[in-house]
Subunit: 182 residues, 2 copies
């Protein structure tokens, strides 16, 4: 369960199969299953072998979640004029896996951008809008497989990704035992 | 240059950096650059480090190219009722790299689906339609980096991907020296 404590905070999320890091949540395979872009309550997130990994079983937010935009990385912050280091979701992913001594492939899977608001125009245009998630809004993802979940509270502060004039913050994460709380 | 000899044939395409197979063409990073889904004449296809790899410099087809649908694989043909082996773009990718003794990561990057027609509904729904490419329609991709390009004429014959009631075929591929033909 991921709670958007302060509101408007985007969270990049990934799941890897615990037994095989070559299997990971995949937006294109998920779309083939749901028949549409986006992620809605009840949807299963599939891995790149078309097996279900996570299910969105609760969502008290307005339901904006993005599967299209790549994680921020140092190259992105260079484009935005940052000269030194800037925290970024890509490095957070690899640092989290290294800290847990999890051996993963040296590439970043496409993230699930929880709470991220990216309307698609009729001409296919994409635009990043401030999130609508309010303080306390939460999502609950049920593991359908034995997975490692990686989360990064997005540190983007040079685009409206995490709201306008708002410093990125952490979020609250809880692992809930679904056996005792179905 | 890729010529759709018989028309209606989808071609899955990938580019990998010749010097580093951890860099590959990436739909999400391409969208961040163009600001929209799809691929149009003049667009650069970016890699997962946001560097341009290929440019679509010629396109005599109606311009339908998809970056959203994953490659067909054995799991997909199982879903479609195939019990034995079925040729598929995923295996074609790995077999092509193995035949050329190219050491790539053990995962399949998201393909560029040339000539594939996937209209996006206003509600984000995706549907696979027969291609509009006519016999002889061609695209030319200019390499902007030192790349390995992998192509798979999609063998999908259980969905309208490659037309209805039409057996998948090969396509004509030519490497054109852009120094002498700018």
């Amino acid at each position: 369960m991921i709670t958007n404590t302060s509101g408007e905070q985007v969270v990049d999320a990934w799941a890897l199969a615990a037994s095989d890091s070559r299997r990971f949540t995949s937006a294109p395979h998920t779309w083939m299953s749901t028949g549409r872009l986006g992620l809605r309550l009840g949807d299963d997130l599939l891995d790149n072998t078309r097996r279900p990994m996570l299910r969105l079983v609760e969502d008290t937010s307005p339901g904006d979640h993005d599967l299209l935009i790549p994680s921020c990385d140092l190259a992105r912050y260079r484009q935005l004029g940052v000269e030194g280091y800037h925290d970024n979701c890509r490095d957070n992913y690899f640092e989290a896996l290294a800290a847990a001594a999890i051996d993963a492939l040296p590439f970043l899977p496409q993230p699930i951008n929880l709470f991220m608001r990216v309307p698609i125009g009729r001409d296919g245009s994409l635009s990043i809008h401030p999130p609508r998630a309010a303080p306390g809004d939460r999502v609950r993802l049920r593991a359908l497989d034995d997975v490692v979940v990686v989360l990064s509270a997005c540190p983007q502060d040079l685009a409206p990704t995490n709201g306008i004039g708002r410093a990125p913050t952490g979020v609250d994460v809880a692992v809930v035992d679904t056996e005792s709380r179905p």
